[in-house]
Amino acid sequence: MISGETALKRAAPFLACLGLLALWQVASLVLKNDSFPTALEALRAIPSILGDKEALINFAASLRRMATGFGLAVVVSIPLGLMMGRSRLVASFFNPLLMVIYPVPKAALMPIIMLWLGVGDIAKTLVIFLGVSLPVIYHSFQGAKAVEEKMLWSGAAMGLLAPQRLIRIVFPAALPEILTGCRTGLVLALITMITSEMIARQSGAGNILFNALDMGQYDTVFAMIIIVGAMGIGFDAVFERIRARLVRWSEPQFDIPLSFS
């Protein structure tokens, strides 16, 4: 019985996918719009995109930029966020700057950055870097702020220096929160990747998507949406696995339906 229930739980996201696709199929059959292909037509267009060598090169270029931008952002943002969380001086130094930058769409900086750095990889990677770093900084900051003082005091009493305390106490204690930030950052990296390629049409998955839109190849448009969506869901699921393993010790949140109804 229990195994049946867990199996159902495992299958639930797939069922949700199927349900959404079915909904799409019905909607497109009802609307009968030329520019709205059915789910089946879109799914049928996927193999031809993935079989195309040029498209695969585009995807590889996209993923490479995304990985570089994401990696760099994580490496820079986590220490910065942790230091902001532990020192009021650092926090009040950086906070207003971050608040000014936060509402600016990072991909909208593309046109300006392109003027300086050209349309190549550097500009796009930089934009992804900017997009990822803010949530990671913010969550590391919150995580480091919530670390129990007592643990730091005992660390200090046992002779740990400030940088050691940051690495050996604050970082592990803030890890669940940091990983939440990284998860948001991962989705943002994908979003920024697509939008940056849409603005600087040169290569990449976003380029295929918006070129198809301009040329009116609607089944390619929708097939690309499925592919990009699947990438987002796939990355998120993999990251969630890693996260769950890394922070197995922290108490599970989020799973208590209220009982009063």
């Binding site: 207003p96 700057l97 509402p103 600016v104 769409p105 994908l190 009982s259």
Partner: protein, 255 residues
């Protein structure tokens, strides 16, 4: 925290911004960057003030704000309603949970072409995109806030004879308010970003369109103006939300 500490904190925070502007000015003054690529800050801010006085620019801002608020309001209403429902009823939870798991990490910008084809190039597609993007942070934090309400509070309300509907609105929603407002804050920033992007992709008005027009004609000065405007708008809206938050949460212990 006394007033002097706060002012010194603010001054310290202004340092990096001032430093950036100084660096910007220095890059131009010492000739490292040509004025056509990097206009001096004085020129950009002067242009911003000049633009703010014109009617056309104010109409662009109004168009952007309208889409932003419409999308954001839809996201707040739907997010809070679905989040609460999922936290309260196990049946709804079982349906909503997997759907949210699938849809939340989906990059919504990729859906924009589909929205364009379905509902056209007008306000609707942009509003729907903003709503779709702002919905999930609000929904998730409402759900989180509502499902971590202390059970004792609910039991006491039940013991006092409050009907389920009363418990939902008088106990669960207020107790979840801090979390809901945090979600709204994230959703608001996302709305600013998304509305701008949507306008950059296809639009005939709005701040994003101003940027694209300037970029096509290589008017570097005019490219900075909408970016600074959206940053200022974000700051102002954030400040308003913060004020609303401290008003709504006035009875709460410091969060």
């Amino acid at each position: 925290m006394n007033a002097r500490v706060v002012t010194s904190d603010v001054l310290l925070g202004l340092l990096p911004i001032a430093f950036l502007i100084a660096l910007w000015q220095a890059l131009v003054s010492f000739g490292y960057a040509p004025v056509t690529l990097l206009p001096p800050p004085g020129l950009v801010f002067g242009r911003l003030l000049q633009q703010l006085l014109t009617d056309t620019f104010r109409q662009e801002i109004a168009a952007t704000l309208f889409r932003l608020f419409a999308g954001f309001s839809i996201a707040v209403v739907l997010g809070v309603a679905i989040g609460l429902a999922a936290a309260v009823s196990p049946a709804i939870n079982a349906v909503v949970r997997p759907i949210v798991r699938v849809l939340a990490p989906l990059p919504k910008v990729a859906l924009y072409p589909a929205l364009l084809l379905l509902v056209g190039f007008g306000h609707e597609s942009k509003i729907m995109l903003v709503a779709a993007d702002a919905l999930f942070p609000i929904l998730l934090s409402t759900y989180f806030g509502a499902s971590t309400v202390e059970q004792k509070l609910i039991w006491s309300a039940m013991a006092a004879g409050t009907p389920p509907r009363g418990i939902l609105f008088k106990v669960v929603l207020p107790a979840a308010a801090p979390s809901v407002l945090t979600g709204c804050r994230i959703g608001l920033v996302i709305s600013c970003i998304v509305v701008f992007l949507a306008e950059m992709i296809t639009s005939t008005d709005g701040l994003g369109h101003v940027l694209v027009t300037a970029a096509r004609t290589f008017q570097a000065v005019d490219m900075f103006v909408p970016l600074i405007t959206i940053s200022l708008l974000g700051l102002i809206l954030n400040g308003l939300l913060e004020a609303l938050r401290s008003y709504l949460l006035r009875g709460f212990p410091e969060v």
